[in-house]
Symmetry: C2
Subunit: 140 residues, 2 copies
DNA sequence: ATACAACTTTGTAATGATTACAATTTCATA
DNA sequence: TATGAAATTGTAATCATTACAAAGTTGTAT
């Protein structure tokens, strides 16, 4: 996704494509690592020395509000963000902390009593040990 | 679930059944409202005037550690707790804030690439508008 | 080009849930 | 009843996030 495409994508979602916003969105698209605010801040502030953390917060809140990114609350004490807004699951390894994407098999996810509700967001979170950490420390 | 049963249940999970712990667990069993710390504190401190919030935090952390209750992070800025540790989903209405239980239909919840992982926890969160709020304010 | 209004960005201070920690109290047992 | 371990308490610290007001930037009409 190049700059022109990003610019267009933001405008499609009713977000004015300022330089900072483009950079934040670009980070999210190029680093599929479900970052928190600090990860984005530390990376972008090397390019934009005057960058403020508040701008990252403002930008991400705007993106979430406009449906450009989704907010992941799989880690108890921090918000993480994902440019992939399609329905998929997340797995967080409690040893290395890495968050993996999980792709749903089929589209079967049905509940007995969800008829009356209007569902706007779905979050599928799993926690445990990832393959790497199982191999390195099989007992924990 | 009476006091003797609660006492026994705590002991089964390697938790010494102090008076406070029994009261906290009893609250969770009798109020299936997925409370946060403050809801439990406000309720119990009428019975136990000397109760400290820290005790609630300590107790809930112990319960989670010992597998007696599960920690729900569906609300961004606060932890909520559930005495039902079986696999089920949660729906949070963004208008009234209430959290509903959802029972999985079948046990079909499969992912493409979860083979290598050891899953210890599953969290299925959904957000939107509940039936009541849809009826009362159909447009929001 | 200029001025103006609207919007964006910044930095500091406030908020609020949770945790750290040390002191006090309670409990179980000899 | 004495003693040590465990539970409880209260205050202070932590830390991610938000509030807010000032400063900077952009686009547009004149």
């Amino acid at each position: 996704m190049n700059i022109a495409q990003i610019r267009n994508h933001l405008e499609t979602h009713d977000v004015k494509p300022s330089h900072h916003r483009i950079k934040v969105y670009q980070y999210l698209v190029e680093n599929r690592n479900h970052p928190n605010v600090d990860m984005i801040y530390r990376e972008l502030s090397t390019e934009i020395p005057t960058l403020s953390r508040t701008t990252i917060y403002n930008t991400l809140n705007l993106f979430v509000e406009k449906g450009l990114v989704s907010l992941i609350t799989i880690a108890e004490n921090e918000m993480r963000y994902d440019a992939d807004t399609s329905l998929h699951g997340h797995f967080r390894c409690h040893r290395c902390g890495k968050i993996y994407d999980l792709r749903l098999k089929g589209s079967a996810l049905e509940f007995e009593n969800m008829d009356n509700f209007r569902v706007d967001e779905s979050h599928l979170y799993f926690k445990g040990l990832c393959g790497n950490c199982l191999a390195e420390a099989g007992d924990k």
